[in-house]
Symmetry: C2
Subunit: 388 residues, 2 copies
Amino acid sequence: MTETFVIAQGGGPTAVINQTLAGAALEARKRHPGSRVLGALHGVRGIRDGNYVDLSALSEQQLRLVAATPSAALGSTRDKPDAAYCETVLAGLHKVGATAFIYIGGNDTAGTQQILAEAAGKDIAFVHAPKTIDNDLVENDHTPGFISAAEFIAGAFLSVDLDFRALPGIYVGIVMGRHAGFLTAAAAAWQQDEDSEPHLVYVPERAFSPARFIDDVREVTSRHGRCIVAVSEGVTAEDGRSVVENLVPPDRLERDAHGNVRLSGGDLGMTIEQLIHDGLPGARARVDTFGYLPRGNVATINDTDAREAFQAGVFAVEAAARGGGSVALQYAHGITRPQLVPLADVAGKTKHLPDDFLLTDSNRISAKCKAYLERLLPRRFEVAKPFV
Amino acid sequence: MTETFVIAQGGGPTAVINQTLAGAALEARKRHPGSRVLGALHGVRGIRDGNYVDLSALSEQQLRLVAATPSAALGSTRDKPDAAYCETVLAGLHKVGATAFIYIGGNDTAGTQQILAEAAGKDIAFVHAPKTIDNDLVENDHTPGFISAAEFIAGAFLSVDLDFRALPGIYVGIVMGRHAGFLTAAAAAWQQDEDSEPHLVYVPERAFSPARFIDDVREVTSRHGRCIVAVSEGVTAEDGRSVVENLVPPDRLERDAHGNVRLSGGDLGMTIEQLIHDGLPGARARVDTFGYLPRGNVATINDTDAREAFQAGVFAVEAAARGGGSVALQYAHGITRPQLVPLADVAGKTKHLPDDFLLTDSNRISAKCKAYLERLLPRRFEVAKPFV
């Protein structure tokens, strides 16, 4: 029987999601000579609408160039199929004679695969390949896309700290991260010493109190003469709602098909700027919203991340041969390897920063978190300690 | 006579301002064995207050590490000395027996040197060494610091365009640049083709009309299915005032000692977000304020920029031997070389984007601007054209 692989990409792009695409496409051709590999455009929407690109027609060289290109070459989607949508997707897969559907994405994408797998027969293998800068997939030690985005963040905070040693003040960088603070914690990955950036880290796992925030910043500023802060877009107030959700007028509050409130605007930044203006009058303060800059940045593609993402794609083809499931990057005995886990174990679940990754009663990361980050993100730049 | 060099750094840090510091310090020691090289902390403030670090005590290896470190290792200042301040600075220079004062900075810094040179006798040589990510110094083909910051911008826009091909929408990146649009124009340096980022560029040299902006964005979005926009922080309204100045409540409007309004906040970004929300209802739009991220980023230090900055420092010592003046990077016969020009030619003056760097009646850069950027910023990353 001729194998037909359908591959698609879902959710927010990363710097290495195309590595996974290329890894799967190349491995499918290698293991199943003569097989067809179809790339669905804009995720499940491409399957529903019959929009494909024939990846079998591309040379290995072309696929390697695609692999090295950030963002989702096939396009992405935030569509979350309901039952009716699923029917059209399944019909679409049958129409092209699909024997396997590999969907690269986060926990929402794993959820889509789970729904499809339950609705379909055994004739199609449904595979979820992991991807997210948020690093919030359970069963994974870390996720493809995280390391590259984290390197951007680590380098940015190292750099900004040097900037604010030269011209002292308060700096706040707002970092993507809806539910999990890994990316924000990565701000501390290349911290030089106790005196260095970031002095404070605010993540979704801890309730954000404006009054406490101002006290923290005041204390650090009086001790270090400057204060460098990393804040997750998804920080939540005591009532459990995101700070953004509590602040933005309802008519401007956008939600995606998954019901997620849009966090990537400048609202939180402006609010924090106002907080500092009111709470620490006269202080020189700057708030930057990193927004989309870290997530698929061509200048900070990490080699390990690229290689692991490619391997996840290769393993997705093996996973299809085993009947489907979710590919998870697991770490044991000093080695990161893709493993197969059930879709249900990953779908819709969120991995949070472990409790012991944060210091108790302080907005700082723990030595354990530091060690985890150092394993994934070895220091890349050596810098001199400034004279001031 | 023992030579005593005083070196200081002024204005906003860059990724390579320490190259100039190291170049000057190493050259001073080489040309004048036994000379003293003092680094003043936080610019002229360090001279006024007698705060120095003895750079003569550092090994070449230590100075090379300082050179490779972004931001101003000596600290910086935004102080603009008046007559009384100048007296204390001159007294400070005499106190340490300075024979030359090399001040690394932008046009405000050159202005300070001009005032000091006019107030002092001939016993001290006053040298301005160029530095600014804004690329707005007259007499210079380009300025140390610009290329590295521009690479950050070029890479970011290339990446964001790929992101918005995958998940279409409107993206606006707000880029530093008070009076000159060079850094914002650099968003187009690595543009792949007509269809690629950025589609629109708004710079301080052209009046910003909100209505025209919305029309432009609507037109591009309907043609390309997405719209990528670069906007200078310093864009000005028809009345010649900065857009930020027109919008921010006066009690929040910060000014530095030079009378410059602070532009680096998120105010402009929020205003543009609101403009799009009102003018193009329902559109998916994201606005990121790049803020401090490009200016001293450790991940995008450009080798040419680093080398030229170092050479500017080396040449500053030669400039001191010639009696002082401003070091300018000039370009002729395919080579960029530092040259000596009078301080008065640079002080307080601003170089703008030439008229023919922008297309008439369109918010796009011209082929001439493209060629200039390509000379300074050869394409660093090859990427595949996405399938969507």
